[in-house]
Amino acid sequence: MQHGLDAAFSALADPTRRAILARLALGEATVMQLAEPFAMSQPAISRHIKVLGDAGLIIQRVAGAKRPCRLAAHALDDVDRWLAMLREALSRNYERLDGLLAAMESENETDSRGKDLTCAR
């Protein structure tokens, strides 16, 4: 059994499935509506929908003969948090590190002053 986040990442790895999610971000859609933009049979689209459903990313309901799909609430929260962490953390962290390094270097200079007058950069 695949882990929640692993399943989400596998599901997101396919461009067709990402396009389906992008379409569903605009609102509920039937399988036929979802198949329209793709040069793909309805059963092929249905397979992608099953993968997205198994990963907990979308929810499909029964409405007569139709099976409209919608995005599951909070489906991408975990993935989003990780990505937000990566991109935010990197640039913000490095800005902070600039400040810390400046403090470390001036401390080093104070420490070594008198011991080694030639070490000034």
Partner: protein, 155 residues
Amino acid sequence: MRKMTVALEGDTHVVVTRRFAAAPKSVYRAHTEAELMQKWMTGPEGWTMPFCISEARPGGQLRCEWTDGKGGDFYLTGHYVELEPFSRIVHVERMHLPDPTPDNHVETRFTADGAGTLLTMRMTLPDAETRAAMLATGMEEGMEASYARLEEVLG
């Protein structure tokens, strides 16, 4: 001058570079000493890292815990694989949200660059799918925005 760059390499790598106005020894120490890491690896605005274990030796444990002080918490676990003071670190890490993210294998190099340091961080994701998913979900756009902010800050 201190612009961060992000590039893709092969199927599974992401390479980040950044220049710092300090010697490699200082930049390396800031990456391996828990007390120093807690001062800058704090992530988004408003978050802190109240707890950090960094056993900087091969096989040594790595654990960082973050909080926003409002009940938002997550942590990272991993271990060191190789260390060459003050030029290279290899480690493995994963985030726990609490579900663990795929293992990220990271090689960080510190190269003297004039009076400063060129940092090169090479991340290796488990497979092409994981990296594709990571990038497709907006990391690239996010990085662009971050560069723009950085440039504003650095003028």
